[in-house]
Each structure stands twice: as C-alpha cells, then as structure tokens.
Symmetry: C3
Amino acid sequence: MSTPALVLDLLGTFAFALNGALTAVRAARLDIVGVVTLGMITALGGGILRDVLLGALPPATFSDWRYLAVATAGGLVAFAATRQLERLAMPITVLDALGLSLFAVTGAGRALDLGAGVGQAILLGGITAVGGGTIRDVLVRRVPTVLSSELYAIPALLGAVVVVVPDRLGVGGLGWTLAGAALALTVRLVGVGFHLDAPRPPGVGPAD
Amino acid sequence: MSTPALVLDLLGTFAFALNGALTAVRAARLDIVGVVTLGMITALGGGILRDVLLGALPPATFSDWRYLAVATAGGLVAFAATRQLERLAMPITVLDALGLSLFAVTGAGRALDLGAGVGQAILLGGITAVGGGTIRDVLVRRVPTVLSSELYAIPALLGAVVVVVPDRLGVGGLGWTLAGAALALTVRLVGVGFHLDAPRPPGVGPAD
Amino acid sequence: MSTPALVLDLLGTFAFALNGALTAVRAARLDIVGVVTLGMITALGGGILRDVLLGALPPATFSDWRYLAVATAGGLVAFAATRQLERLAMPITVLDALGLSLFAVTGAGRALDLGAGVGQAILLGGITAVGGGTIRDVLVRRVPTVLSSELYAIPALLGAVVVVVPDRLGVGGLGWTLAGAALALTVRLVGVGFHLDAPRPPGVGPAD
C-alpha cells in the first residue's frame, strides 16, 4: 500500500475507533475494556472482513502493528475525552461518516492491488466501509446502520467507484482517491442531514 | 464444481436472496439498499463460512460473479415484487427451506471436492445451509432459526449425509444429490407443518 | 501443538461446550439441536477466529476431529445432565472462566508456534478466550460479556502475557502455561465474586 493510502487508512481506523468507543460509552456505559474493545472492533472489523474475502490472510489490519496501535489509541482517547467529544456536534455520526468514506476508497484500492475484478473491488470498498460498524451494531444489539439508515452503503459504493473505474482506465491515483472519499463523505452527510432514505418497496409504508 | 451442482447452488442462492430480502421488508421495512443487502448476505453468507472453514479463499461465492449477480437479482426481484410474493402461501418459509436443502447438498459436495473428511463434509453441508440464515437473523435481531426452530439443522445434516456417504462408497452422483435435497426439503417442510421440535432437555418444559 | 497443550485445549473446549449448552437451556430453552449447536459454537468459535486471524486455514478446531468430538460430547452431556449441572454453584460462570483461562494460554501458545509477534500473540490469546463466548452471546441476543462484565478480557490478556513473555525470553514451557491459566482463572473468579469492573469513563456513572 502506498504511503498516502496508508495514511488515509490509518485516519479511517482512528475515526472508527473513536466512533466505536463513543458508541460503547453512550449505548452501554461500558468500562474501559469494553470501550476500547468496541473501538478496536469497529476500527479493525471492516479490514478483516475485506482481507478474509480477498484471501489475504493474516489480515493487514491485524498483522501490522500500526493499525493495532492507532485503533487502541483511538479507543483510549475516546475513553479519556468522552465529555469533550460529546460536546461536539454529532461526533459519533461525523466520525462514522469519516471512517466510512476513507475505508471505502482504501478498501477498494487494496482490493485492486490484490488483483480483484471491478465489481469485487467496488463491493469490497463497500464492505470495508460498512463492516466494522455492522459488527459494532450487532454487539450493542442495534439493527445495523447499513440495513436501516439514510444513505449509508450507497455513498461507500460511490466512493469505491470513483477509485476503481479510473484505475481500470489506467488513470488512477491519489487525486481520485481523495475525490472518492470527499464524494462519499458529502453524500453520507447530506443523507444524514436531510434524513434521506433510498426508495422503499412499492406499497410498503415507512416503519412507524 | 460440475454444471448441475453449479445450477443447484445458484438456485439455492436465488431462493435465499428472495428470502432474505422479504425478511428485510417484513421485519424491518428497510429501503432498497437494506433489502438487497440482507438478501445478498443471506444468499452468500453460508458459502463464505464454508469456504473460510475449508481454507478455500477467496470464497467461491464472492470471487465468482455469477453468485453475486444471482444474489443481487434475487434481492431486486423481491424488492420489486414484494406484494405479489407475499400473496403466496408462506413464501419466506418455503424459500428458506429450498435454500437450506440445496445448500446442504452443494455445500457437502464442495467440501468433498476440496478433500474434507466424512464428518467435516457433513458438518460443512449443514453450516453452508444454515449459515446465511443465521447471519440474517442476527442482523435483524432474532434468535437464529437454527437454535430455536422446528427441525432445521437436522434436515440439512440428513441431506448432506445422503451426498457424502455414497460418495465415500464410490457410488456418488447427481442422483444422490437430488435425493439428498429432496429428503432435506421434505423433512424441513414436515417439521414446519407439524411444528415438530427435536427433544428438549429432561425436566425442562417448552418455552412460554 | 505439544501433547500437554493439546490436553489443555481440549479441556477448554469441553468447558465451553458445557457452558454454551447450559446457556442455551437457560436462556432460550432450546431443543437438543439448539443446545448442542450453541455448545459447539461456543467451544469452537474462539479457535476459528484465532486461526482466521493467523491465516492458518482450515482452522485446527474444525479440521481436527478431536475438537469436534469433544465439543459435541460437551453439548450432549450438558443436555442430558442439565438438572444435575444446574445444582452446582454457578456452573455457567465457572465453566466460562475455565474455558477463558485455558484458551487464553493455548491460543497465545498457538500464535507463537505460528510465528506471531509479541503483541499479536497476546491479543490472539485474548481473542481465542473471549471469541466463542462473544458469538454465543450474540446468538442468544445478549450484550457480550467481554463488553459488559466484571474483568473478562483482562484476565485473558494477563494469562496470555504469562505465556508470551517467558517464551520470548527463551524460558517458556508448560510451567508458564499452567501459571498463566491459573492467574487468568483467579483474576476472573475474583472479578465475578466481587463484581469488579475496570474503570469507567470520567464523569460517566455506572449503568442503571
């Protein structure tokens, strides 16, 4: 993985570790072990799923100590600064959107590096992005955001498309990676801000 | 995998994709992304678990575009035709039983192809059959059918036995595969129809 | 794996199989298939997670028939002797603590055998120890013990440290393995007995 891609991947890891740890504090008021554990699972889960599906084991996010260190640090920071972080506007949602966007592009990029096809690379970008948060939600007994929420998988898949298609056309690079992450982040935050959902089945009303 | 086995496997994938997508509509009234996502997870989850346990990564159900296409199509069909499908008698249960029966025999067959022992092949047939539905149930926060329901794992294991034992005796073939699937389907539907459960622990009454 | 390590690993498997099966009886009053299934998942889940993260597939706990046999036997014994086992003091908690302690040291040992680094080996000891119980809790819809309970991950990590550090200093051996398991078991049972939790975030009270 190139250095800029690694930096983006570690940033995403940190954002998800903060998010998972804050979720643990808010959802279940866990102790420090529970808070850091949920932060690490949220931060590392998506990359582990991606590498299992790519057959690239052991997973990079587990065998590379930098991911473990950043994920642990994120959990500890969130534990120590819970009150300060909660004073920010929507910190959990924004951190989740950041991690989602960064992992969508880095996950798709890693899939391309390892020889995945176009469709698989886009899907793996999406899975990397939503995987950790889905495991987080299952562990604290919520319906996963990817199933229930305003535009969540779609921005991730869009971000991955912006990485994968130029790469296949031979013009890929860091610019597209940043553009993909920015697109995913924008679409996700607009979706959250306006409570946008994708279309529902014909004849079925919204949930009460 | 031989062509008939592939066809049965894709049929099972389609049945589980319809089932998962309908579950999403009924259980949680999700939008199109949630519906298709749950359909794909239900359809592909069992095969992914099987291939992880066989060490055959990347999983066939992920690296082969035909599985992804059939699973996506199943989710979209269920989304578009929710009302028509719900008019059928017990569509969710019957589709689940179909997927269960087909995956039990194709999962056991793939395990044999990859050199698994007798016990492992039977167990992998069962895991392929119940895996996707178990992940589906966890995601929509239900106790998994395999733990709670009328005969669910038993028909899958029976179907796998009908594939594995003749193969080990050197007389395996498509006939046994079809017979195994038919047996699994019959036992499962009889179990559903008559609310049959396996024996409970001595001295412990049924749940209220 | 050396013979003593294998014996400890099979003992841990048996303890977790009893624990998972009793959990199934108590939490959900499942039938025999559900009881044995939850026993097997609890007993084998941690080792499967460990081997996936080590890239050592197929997982030893699945490809080696002794693990499958011991896990099945544990589930069946718990099913047959539910009432006798429930008469013991806290059987579920003690069995869980036993499995936790044994898997912490055997999991760390296996990670070292397969060339994992110090940090990874300690973490893998912890993951092996808490993995099966976490999957068990998700399946019966409880917040996992590792997130919520009195000292659970900490004793597992301590036990793993007692195995990994001497090994790296060139003085490892069965004595350290047994000492690590004893330490983990003691810390866990003291944590349960005195309802000890790790520190909570500053300014956040305990859950109601």
